[in-house]
């Protein structure tokens, strides 16, 4: 069982992911609506896994990822991307993201990614 932090500016996506994880053994310990908050919550909650949206106001997912990797180089961050964001995802991988998932995804998809890192 892993502690999970969900980062997405869209409440809809946060709820969706949370609902998908409900039935799993994992626990969503926090949510953040932008990169800035994500970093704060990461420090405060020390989650095992972070799901990170890329396009967000204030501080985007890439910058938040870099900050989190700077705090903990082995942090498990899964980028939540969409078609058309190939370049960003590449950046994220080079910056230390453990992988990515592409919207729209299904429950099995996100669970398999999280189970792998848990």
């Amino acid at each position: 069982m892993a502690k999970i932090l969900i980062v997405d500016d869209a409440a809809f996506m946060r709820i969706t992911i949370k609902n998908m994880l409900k039935k799993s053994a994992h626990e969503v310990v926090g949510e953040a609506e932008n990169g800035k908050v994500a970093i704060e919550r990461y420090k405060a909650l020390a989650p095992d896994i972070v799901t990170m949206d890329i396009t967000m106001p204030e501080l985007d997912g890439l910058q938040a990822l870099r900050e989190i990797i700077a705090i903990n180089p082995s942090a498990n961050v899964i980028m939540v991307s969409a078609m058309g964001q190939e370049a960003m995802v590449r950046e994220a991988i080079m910056s230390g993201a453990k992988g990515f998932i592409v919207k729209p995804f299904k429950e099995e998809g996100i669970l398999s990614a999280i189970d792998k890192l848990a």
Partner: protein, 689 residues
């Protein structure tokens, strides 16, 4: 994905919010005839979010359209959006898209099929993008390829090293390290397989001396296809053993299968172009960052969330319950069982309960208050679209959009406002030539204002158009038999307000926006539902002003209770000026047969409610009943009834629908209320008498 109700709610709510803020951004930008970098970013982000959420909900059309818009704004962003000649078209297409999204959401809310066809919009977008690309290509120098240009400036320096993503085609010669061939497949539907392969290479790179992969170019969609079909092949030279390699590969997300085979360095299978390459070996794994300890226990408190969103249905039931409590309270307080007993301590406890319930009521009402800004912004859109359509230049000035009203009010106010503004744009404001002839500025102006006055919210819509025509209205009204007084008796204001009568409409021609046969009477009716009233005034040649008056609290009103025969009525206290026993001598009949009464030096018409509502068992002798002087903004008159029961605070209930269906005329009745004693009382609609 199977979405449950709450997710659907959130989806709709959030998407609507996004569209709203998007529209505001567009309006702000349209004034400058372009969007600035920040605004472009915002549009891009909104579209991205809608795309993602819609795709998750499997609303393909919405997702597709949002995706196309996102793509277009990526192009605009990369061109800094400056100096584009396409801005007017961009605004148009995005506005149309917002309408499309809103339309689909509305269908979703009504559980209707989301059958809007985005194809025409997509076609417009495609053409626009082609033009934009023509322009960007001309503007841009050499530099990056188009799709990859979606990297924001902050990360661009790193991205500008494409060499890193290409295999430094290794030489397979002699060395201590062994050679391996890896073949892997990703899960079906994992998507963006070429980027996944790129991710694998990033990890493999760290442990290999040399490596190569097939497909070699991981920058294109075509690579993703190939990997999906044939798998991803990696050849590498490394000192690590197969288990270690496998362990690293196993970290890959969405890895379906992978095999690690030991091969010879000169294996035929290795792509020829790679075998022949003479390039220097890439440096092997090094500089791997040492792991740091996770951040010290930080007890930084997590920022508290100060807002929650609540389904409005819950607020409705909360309000209903508060209404019931008010009723129950009066049932207890005026309970007949107490008789004439003295009960001081009960009274003081009851008083405390009463003030607490009042407070509760205030809080519940305040929760339901939202600013009219959202509604007003919608009108901005309407004015914009319509003035384009009619070739008129119209500016909409909005004042007091922060004024708060009950959520219900917003719902009921929307259609009337739309209607009034349509009328102003269509019939009120003249075309530019006429305006010039009349010595007015070419562009017309509509002022939409909301303000608070004591117990009411006042919303006015004023235009500087031609004004209403007294003569036309009188002519039409007499044609339709709507006049109740002779023309000479009517004030200008009374004449103007004839337009609110059912069946009145002066414009013969029907346009898309106004004059669909739904007249101003609907405006009055809708506003009547929420206990409000609407009046109009006009000055020929100068313009027209509509004034909508809405009570702040809708559902709980103070009213005077009286009866007519066995019927109980309540009239809102705000409309009551006085109630007296009449002097029979003061009542007379005018030449047309209407009963009139002289009250404090003024003459008012007298309405016998028993006649108005056809009550049989009521008092008919004027000396035995009572007179109430009633005044609203539009009329002042007196009613005759049997006897007054006192003042009550009542919860207004809408008349049940079946009543509306079975009775042709409910004129004069605005709703009903159940009092503490269980009696049903009809609430008088003053303007309907």
């Amino acid at each position: 994905m199977i979405a449950d109700e709450s997710m659907l709610d959130v989806y709709i709510y959030e998407t609507q919010q996004l569209l709203e803020s998007l529209e505001n951004t567009l309006f702000a930008g349209e004034n400058d005839k372009r969007l600035n970098a920040e605004q472009i970013d915002e549009v891009f982000r909104v579209m991205h979010t809608i795309k993602g959420a819609s795709a998750m909900m499997e609303f393909e059309n919405m997702a597709k359209l949002a995706h196309s818009l996102e793509d277009m704004f990526a192009i605009i962003r990369d061109n800094n959006g400056s100096g584009l000649s396409e801005w007017p078209d961009i605004f148009d297409v995005v506005f149309s898209a917002v309408s499309y999204f809103n339309g689909e959401l509305a269908k979703l809310l009504e559980k209707a099929p989301m059958d809007g066809d985005p194809a025409p919009l997509m076609e417009r977008l495609k053409l626009l993008v082609a033009r934009l690309q023509g322009e960007t290509a001309a503007a841009a120098t050499t530099q990056q390829a188009a799709p990859e240009a979606a990297v924001p400036a902050a990360v661009a320096p790193a991205a500008a090293k494409p060499a890193e993503t290409m295999a430094p085609a290794p030489v397979y010669g002699k060395g201590e390290e062994a050679y391996y061939k890896i073949k892997l497949f990703f899960d079906e539907n994992s998507q963006m397989e070429h980027i996944r392969a790129f991710g694998v290479i990033q990890n493999i790179k760290k442990i290999s001396l040399r490596y190569a992969h097939v497909p070699q170019n991981l920058d294109t969609e075509a690579a993703a296809d190939e990997i999906r079909r044939n798998g991803f092949l990696i050849f590498l030279q490394t000192g690590h053993n197969p288990d270690e390699i496998k362990a690293i590969l196993d970290e890959t997300l969405f890895l379906k299968s992978c095999s690690v085979l030991s091969i010879e360095g000169d294996d035929e299978e290795i792509p020829v172009e790679i075998r022949q390459s003479k390039e220097q070996a890439a440096a092997a794994a090094s500089g791997r960052q040492t792991e740091q300890q996770a951040a010290e226990n930080s007890f930084e408190s997590v920022a508290k969330q100060n807002f929650i969103s609540v389904n409005v249905n819950k607020l409705d039931s909360l309000l209903n319950i508060v209404g019931e409590i008010v009723t129950a309270q009066s049932m207890v307080m005026s309970n007949a069982d107490f008789g004439s007993l003295a009960h001081d301590s009960f009274d003081s406890a009851a008083q405390q309960l009463h003030s607490l319930i009042n407070e509760l009521q205030d809080i519940v009402m305040s929760i339901r208050m939202i600013p009219v800004s959202t509604l007003f912004q919608k009108m901005r859109r309407l004015v914009r679209d319509m003035s384009k359509k009619f070739g008129k230049n119209i500016e909409l000035e909005i004042i007091g959009e922060e004024t708060e009203v009950d959520k219900n009010v917003i719902d009921y106010l929307s259609d009337p406002l739309l209607h009034i503004i349509r009328n102003s744009v269509d019939h009120g404001i003249e075309d530019p030539e006429t305006r010039k002839k009349r010595g007015k500025p070419a562009s017309g102006k509509i002022t939409l204002e909301a303000r608070m006055t004591g117990s009411d919210v006042i919303v006015t819509v004023a235009d500087d158009g031609g004004g209403l025509s007294r003569e036309k209205i009188l002519k039409k009204a007499s044609e339709k038999g709507l006049l109740t007084k002779s023309e000479s008796e009517m004030t200008d204001k009374e004449i103007y307000n004839l337009i609110f009568l059912p069946g009145f409409s002066t414009k013969d021609e029907v346009t898309e926006y106004s004059g669909r046969g739904v007249g101003m009477d609907v405006v009055r009716k809708n506003i009547g539902y929420i206990g409000g009233s609407v009046t109009v005034d006009s000055e020929p040649g100068k313009g027209t002003i509509h004034t909508i008056r809405i009570p702040l609290t809708l559902t709980i009103v103070d009213g005077m209770k009286f009866n007519v025969g066995s019927m109980n009525f309540i009239v809102p206290t705000v409309s009551v000026r006085s109630a007296v026993k009449p002097n029979v001598e003061d009542i007379f009949t005018d030449p047309e047969g209407h009963e009139m009464i002289m009250l404090q030096g003024n003459v008012y018409s007298l309405i016998r409610l028993s006649e108005f509502f056809n009550v049989d068992d009521a008092v008919t002798e004027l000396g035995e009943g009572m007179i109430m002087h009633i005044a609203s903004e539009e009329k002042e008159f007196c009613i005759f009834f049997d006897h007054l029961d006192g003042e009550y605070q009542v919860v207004v209930k809408k008349l049940p629908n079946y009543l509306k269906r079975c009775s042709s005329s409910l004129a004069g009745i605005g709703g009903c209320a159940i009092l503490g004693d269980g009696s049903i009382n009809l609430i008088i609609d003053v303007n309907g008498l």
